[in-house]
């Protein structure tokens, strides 16, 4: 099987664009990624398009109506917060299998403001409040307090994640917000679901990101190897059986499973990784994922954030983009936008937030809903 290379990638600056359509947002990122690779839509042999909220509405084909109708196969994918990463992985799979050798992956989303509903048909009986909650903040508050139960992790330690990621975003011109949020401000913000305050919840924004992937032979043929980034691992998992997962959807086991498989596929370990973009949909999620991704021993993530090990300049910088907490979280775009951030560092083009000497990076997305399930996708990337 051929190795797969990332040869073009870009994202629009995340924000709120109610005047645009989802296919328009997708088209903008697609053209930027094609320009980055020096290719055109006519060079693409297939399109994998990720979007959640218009999953029944052929976003990929509508995008091609705006940038070039070449008759290629279009696969529209939806997979909760891993939607963009799933589109990227389907593109990787097609090349790996030898079906295509130059492929476009796009992720785009338009989000409303406010709290996301859990999905599903509205019932006559509204369980919200009567039978707990299905809100996204509540899911990840449970995750945080489970960690507190196991290891004594504090509200303050979770809040420090948000301080760090907002700090990183001040150096990222493509982030929705570029403002510092001191610890007192984060902890004093409106409590949404204890221990996550409003500033510890990701920002609902519109956005898009796109990537061009190629086989090794195609990258050489097109003269793109000098800028190519090798995909060392592309792994996806769904929640494995656990009785508690059926009551409160699991995001830990599904990530540990994916991490184990990704490190094995890459022949690498956590110590080989220079920087990470992980799924900080809520501040509580970031700390548990330090452990799930093997960045530290179980129970050590609170100490890690206290010691600044994941801040720029630290042992293993995490979420240099500002993360979903500050860059923003347009669900379908997030998985490719995370890959854009890693690629930008591996190319040495991240400006003020550049992780010096970055050679290998890892992206992680993980999503799901109560009573439905979860998904996790991990990519390990290397500048060759």
């Amino acid at each position: 099987m051929t190795d797969v290379y990332l040869v073009g990638i870009d994202m629009i600056r995340f924000g709120r664009f109610p005047e645009k359509t989802v296919p328009q947002l997708a088209a903008e990122a697609a053209l930027m990624a094609l320009d980055d690779a020096g290719l055109t839509i006519a060079d693409m042999q297939a399109l994998y398009c990720g979007n959640l909220y218009e999953a029944n509405a052929m976003v990929g084909q509508r995008m091609l109506r705006m940038i070039g109708m070449t008759g290629i196969p279009v696969t529209n994918v939806a997979n909760a917060c891993a939607t963009g990463a799933t589109a990227f992985r389907e593109a990787w799979t097609a090349i790996r299998a030898g079906v295509h050798d130059v492929v476009l992956a796009v992720g785009a989303e338009q989000m409303g403001k406010g709290m996301l509903s859990g999905g599903g048909a509205p019932a006559a009986f509204n369980p919200e409040g009567a039978i707990g909650s299905t809100s996204p903040p509540s899911m990840f508050a449970l995750v945080g307090l489970e960690h507190q139960r196991l290891y004594g992790t504090t509200f303050e330690q979770f809040a420090k994640v948000s301080v760090k990621n907002h700090h990183h975003s001040t150096m990222n011109p493509k982030a929705m917000y570029q403002v510092e949020t001191p610890l007192e401000q984060v902890m004093g913000a409106e409590m949404i679901a204890y221990p996550n305050t409003k500033l510890m919840c990701s920002v609902n924004v519109d956005g898009s990101a796109a990537a061009v992937l190629a086989s090794e032979a195609a990258a050489k043929r097109l003269g793109l190897m000098d800028r190519a980034i090798k995909v060392r691992a592309s792994v996806m998992t769904s929640d494995p059986f656990d009785p508690r997962d059926l009551a409160a959807t699991d995001f830990n086991m599904v990530t540990r499973l994916a991490a184990d498989r990704a490190y094995e596929a890459a022949g690498l370990g956590p110590d080989d990784i220079d920087l990470i973009e992980l799924h900080d949909c809520f501040a509580t999620a970031e700390l548990v994922h330090y452990e799930n991704l093997g960045l530290c021993a179980p129970g050590e993530s609170g100490r890690m954030i206290d010691a600044g090990e994941t801040t720029l300049g630290g042992r293993i910088p995490v979420n240099m983009s500002g993360g979903l907490l500050s860059k923003g979280h347009p669900l379908g775009a997030t998985g490719i936008a995370n890959i854009y951030e890693i690629a930008t560092h591996l190319r040495g083009q991240a400006g003020a937030r550049q992780v010096e000497g970055a050679r290998i990076g890892l992206t992680h997305v993980c999503g799901g809903a109560q009573d439905m399930g979860s998904c996790c996708a991990i990519h390990i990337l290397e500048k060759v």
Binding site: F125, G129, A130, Q370
Partner: protein, 142 residues
């Protein structure tokens, strides 16, 4: 639950017998014994396809994790405590924990809780009240 009321179940698994207290009807795998609230087609744990017996879920358990919801969807009364409870029969159930101060200082991991049934305050299209399940601190076990 008041006698003689015309309660309707808030969720399909909630049973309201005429001559006995309400309960949650789950299913137990005939091979591995895992208990489920929502009856699967085959066992997601051991893949057994044997017919699962209906069982009443355990009414006692321990608090595994929780959160205090301060902001929910429009129209939902806050704050409230959302609990994840490991039931004594091996199933885990999500629900609201009532009769407790919604403050981390008042809530303890592993505290014993009891499953009970109360009027949800919501009515169906015919005007009948929905009976729902809810957790309360288990004073007897405390």
């Amino acid at each position: 639950m008041e006698a003689g009321s015309n309660f309707v179940p808030a969720i399909p698994q909630l049973r309201i017998p005429a001559d006995a207290p309400p309960y949650l009807a789950g299913a137990r795998c005939a091979d591995c014994g895992q208990v489920y609230l929502a009856r699967p087609v085959a066992c997601p744990k051991c893949f057994s396809r044997r017919e699962m017996a209906e069982v009443a879920l355990a009414e006692r358990g321990k608090l595994y994790s929780y959160t205090i919801i301060h902001r929910s969807f429009p129209g939902v009364k806050v704050p409230f405590v959302m609990a994840v409870v490991d039931l004594d029969d091996g199933a885990t159930l999500r629900g609201t924990l009532a009769d407790i101060v919604p403050d981390p200082a008042a809530i303890r991991f592993d505290m014993p809780v009891r499953l009970t049934f109360r009027d949800s305050g919501q009515l169906d299209a015919a005007g009948q009240p929905y009976l729902s399940y809810i957790f309360v601190p288990d004073e007897e076990a405390a």
